[in-house]
Amino acid sequence: MKKLTYFAGALLVCFLLYAQAEALDYKTDDISASVEVLPTFGISLDNLNLYFGLIQPGSTKILGEGTFFNQIHCRSNSGRPWFLKAQVVSLSLMEKPYKVPAGNLKWKVTQCTGSAQPAGGYDFQSLTEEPLLMYASQGDDDFGKDVVLSMQYSLQSPSDAPAGTYSGQIVFTMAESP
């Protein structure tokens, strides 16, 4: 019985020493970190004026030949797909009522940094008075990738176009898919 008590006592001491070693092994403390990544959704153009200068009736002029005329920057990090569309709003003679057909004004993507291909590839596409799909986002485009489309423009003057100054607008629309 005496030996058993000594044995139990020895075990207890071993346990206490072990517990001490374990208790002193390490200590931890946690702190939290947080950030809100702001949503981004925007479009910008770096050259807003398509000035074709003087054009002979029946001839064609290209802006940005060789490289590009301007660039369209689109950026969204909402995680939702988006698209870019373009339309022309009446290219008209200022002095009297005469409209150049919308299809005579064309656009062409020469370079694209996005994850998808431009909707019309890398060929000239005729504009219309209805919004026409230029680009549909894909992959990283939905998470903040700066999608840059480098653009050329072409205008063919109708052979019967009256002399004068013509003015119009091209509207680019970036929108999320419903």
Binding site: Y6, G9, A10, V13, L16, L17, A19, Q20, A21, A23, L24, D25, Y26, K27, T28, D29, D30, I31, S32, A33, S34, V35, E36, V37, L38, P39, T40, R75, N77, S78, G79, D140, F143, G144, K145, D146
Partner: protein, 160 residues
């Protein structure tokens, strides 16, 4: 004889359990970076060059070391900001120990514990060693919008 040995062991072990200690305290100032834009970089160092401070204290006479790691990257659902985009820097300490993480330069967080500080001579006698930190975060250029959270763990360990 055995009885005497056991009694002596009790007498040695029990006071040691009562007085030997290893302490790690933080001021629990969380890392709130607020709202940030894509590609933006922000530093948290609000209090005269530092953001929060950690105090380590040991009375065991053994060398101790402090480590830091991220338990998980900054996360928002399935989206994460890479751990290396969050950095820490030891800006000041009253200790004379070693700073293996490089003193006074930013070091990226990792999911594995990184050594911050190893105690120097005489720093295990109960005197508190204070370490001050500042932090930096860079939002990637491609990152889903949302609120991201993470937990940073400081670990104080003794060498036996």
């Amino acid at each position: 004889m055995l009885k005497k040995i056991i009694i002596c062991a009790y007498m040695l072990a029990l006071p040691a359990l009562g007085y030997a200690s290893l302490e790690l305290t933080t001021d629990h100032r969380s890392l709130f970076f607020g709202a940030m834009r894509l590609g933006e970089e922000k530093e948290l160092a609000d209090f005269g060059g530092y953001h929060n401070e950690i105090t380590c204290r040991s009375t065991n006479g053994a060398i101790w070391y402090l480590k830091v790691n991220l338990l998980q990257p900054l996360s928002s659902g399935a989206d994460t900001i890479p751990a290396e985009n969050l950095s820490w820097q030891l800006t000041w300490t009253n200790g004379n120990g070693t700073k293996p993480g490089g003193a006074y330069t930013y070091k990226s967080f990792s999911l594995m514990p990184d050594l911050v500080y190893i105690s120097g001579p005489g720093e295990s006698a109960g005197n508190g060693i204070t370490l001050q930190f500042k932090y930096s975060l860079k939002i990637p250029e491609i990152q889903h919008s949302g609120v991201y959270n993470a937990t940073i763990r400081f670990t104080l360990t003794e060498m036996f």
